[in-house]
């Protein structure tokens, strides 16, 4: 399949999943009614459902899925490791810590957007720390070490906050948030996260050439004209913006960033550069579908999106590993 055909197919898949996300829910609303509401007409209660509930949710699933997919592809390409995912540089853990701190001090009662803002601040601080720890050179190994350090620190502090939480209710609320989900997100969340996610995805989408060259190793890439320290900075910055903002509004959603690049790698003939946009489209489609499933599987309540992606993702990943083992000699 040519690159254009693949992108077209994945894009169509994402658009269909987006439409399904708007159409499906506990209350039945026809596609015609939804289109009418989107164009400004229609009945009041349909408009309410579309704009207050389903549109923000679908937009966030689309954007966050794209962010996870493209940053997973970027990090796998940059680190030349198929096990890398957005979490390895500590963005998700630091973002989660920022949100937990907000919970812990009860700032959510002051104003509701304190939570995503805390997540954004946490992600920004975590990434700044990773960048500082990783040092000046362009080496990939130091970046992994710095990511491990920041992950460990953020995890420990999150555990500390949980163990010292003022009430069982607060603990429960923190855990629920950490499981990741898109329930009850509003357009305010969309406007808060979307600019960062778009900026991050655009930065990552420009890295194809450098990631392609890195296939031959760091020295060969540098000799081909790639500015390695700048490439690393762009990987970190793009991931921080895209995934940090996503984590801030939706909690940690695992496995999408790991699995999607794996699924699509063969389709782009293993070129790390071409995998970027493909993974963004694939990640968006997968996350939209997973979010629809999270709404519909149980009739009386929702499953957390992060839990669902992990439940589907883990066995799926196992299958990929087994398949890879069979095909490699």
């Amino acid at each position: 399949m040519s690159r254009g055909a693949l992108f077209g197919a994945l894009g169509a898949l994402a658009v269909m999943a987006f439409a399904a996300s708007l159409a499906l829910g506990p209350v039945h609303v026809g596609l015609g009614d939804i289109l009418a509401a989107l164009s400004g007409g229609g009945r009041e209660e349909v408009r309410l459902i579309v704009f207050e509930i389903r549109l923000p949710r679908a937009l966030l699933a689309l954007a966050i899925g794209a962010a996870l997919g493209i940053s997973g592809a970027a990090l796998q390409g940059y680190l030349r490791n198929p096990l890398a995912e957005p979490g390895v540089i500590g963005v998700s853990a630091a973002g989660a810590l920022g949100a937990v701190v907000v919970f812990y001090f009860g700032l959510t009662q002051l104003f509701p957007l304190a939570l995503p803002l805390g997540g954004l601040a946490g992600a920004a601080i975590g990434v700044w720390l990773v960048h500082l720890l990783a040092g000046r050179g362009g080496s990939t190994a130091t970046l992994i070490l710095a990511g491990v350090a920041v992950n460990a620190l953020a995890g420990a502090l999150t555990a500390l906050a949980l163990s010292l939480a003022p009430s069982p209710f607060a603990t429960l609320e923190i855990i629920h948030w950490m499981l990741g989900g898109l329930t009850d997100r509003s357009m305010a969340h969309v406007w808060l996260a979307l600019p960062f996610i778009v900026a991050g995805c655009l930065i990552l989408a420009t890295l194809g050439r450098g990631l392609d060259a890195l296939t031959l190793g760091e020295d060969a890439a540098a000799s081909l004209g790639v500015d390695l320290p700048m490439l690393r900075l762009r990987v970190i910055l793009g991931t921080a913006l895209a995934v940090g903002a996503g984590t801030a509004v939706a909690g940690a959603i695992g496995f999408v960033g790991l699995v999607v690049p794996h699924l699509l790698r063969g389709a782009v003939r293993h070129r790390p550069g071409a995998l970027l946009v493909a993974s963004a489209l694939g990640g968006a489609a997968l996350t939209l579908v997973a979010d629809i499933a999270a709404r519909l599987i149980l009739t009386d309540r929702e499953i957390n999106l992060g839990v669902l992606t992990a439940i589907i993702g883990a066995p799926f990943f196992l299958a990929l590993v087994l398949q890879a083992r069979r095909s490699e000699p």
Binding site: T215, G217, D219, A220, S223, L224, G225, R269, R271
Partner: protein, 261 residues
């Protein structure tokens, strides 16, 4: 005519001075062997010549301009670099690997055009790997991989090619094959520097040798002038069998020189 020159270059790797006071130059059409025992600074000097590590003192110049002042794209177009133990990390088709040699010639948003594909195809044909075009690069034998990576470097059409142990791990047939290709490149006007451990190949193919010992140039010149019994004993700590065959000198390492008391 391009000329890549190191003038009194010192390179520090952390606290260790790996290359100290080295002056050497390579011109179009030259075929220079960079030799010396393990840890003599061959790879470090080659990386400095490629602009991958900045010298702590001295200057590296390309046609008289300091290498650091030349933009990375121009440098990449003019100087090709083939690292030691080249790994190919993803299972890309071989064609795509060879096409990467064209990256410095493409604009930021430009994709490989027909012309680039033709150049890559010529490089693959020259190294007799056209039939590997669709093979995943992770499934190549050592000899095939060495030729693929060399084809990648050739596809960049560099004026100077710096190759770090391109024959390491190859059988005699493929060693000779790679050396013949490099000699052919030099004959076609490319300046070629090749790091070698195989003194027989160095003496047989290179027009000039630069012998490094503990970061310094112990000798440079024609192979026969450089590979004297005294230098082999003092720098390599070996004795060699030497002779002449088909109007070329050969050197065959024979025994270690016992450590002096």
């Amino acid at each position: 005519m391009s000329r890549l020159a190191a003038d009194n270059v010192r390179v520090a790797l952390g606290a260790r001075i790996a290359v100290d006071g080295v002056s050497a130059a390579i011109e179009a059409g030259d075929f220079v062997g960079l030799i010396g025992p393990n840890g003599a600074g061959k790879t470090t000097l080659l990386r400095a010549l490629a602009g991958l590590v900045a010298p702590a003192a001295g200057a590296i110049t390309l046609d008289g301009r300091p290498l650091a002042a030349i933009g990375r794209d121009e440098r990449a177009r003019r100087i090709g670099y083939l690292p030691q133990d080249g790994t190919i990390h993803w299972a890309l088709p071989v064609t795509e690997v060879v096409l990467m040699g064209r990256l410095p010639h493409l604009g930021a948003w430009q994709r490989a055009a027909d012309n680039d594909r033709a150049i890559a195809a010529r490089a693959m044909a020259a190294l007799d790997i056209a039939d590997l075009a669709a093979r995943p690069a992770t499934r190549l034998s050592g000899g095939e991989k060495a030729r693929v990576l060399l084809a990648r470097a050739l596809a960049g059409e560099p004026q100077i090619l710096l190759a770090d142990e391109p024959v390491a791990g190859l059988d005699p047939y493929h060693r000779l094959e790679v050396m013949e290709h490099l000699a052919g490149l030099a004959a076609a006007g490319v300046g070629v520097v090749v790091v070698l451990h195989d003194l027989a190949l160095a003496a047989r193919f290179c027009r000039r040798l630069v012998l490094l010992d503990r970061g310094r140039v112990a000798a440079q010149g024609a192979p026969a002038e450089v590979l004297t019994p005294e230098r082999l004993a003092s720098v390599y700590r070996i004795e060699a069998v030497r002779g002449r065959h088909e109007e070329a000198d050969y050197v065959l390492p024979w025994r270690r020189v016992p450590p002096s008391r």
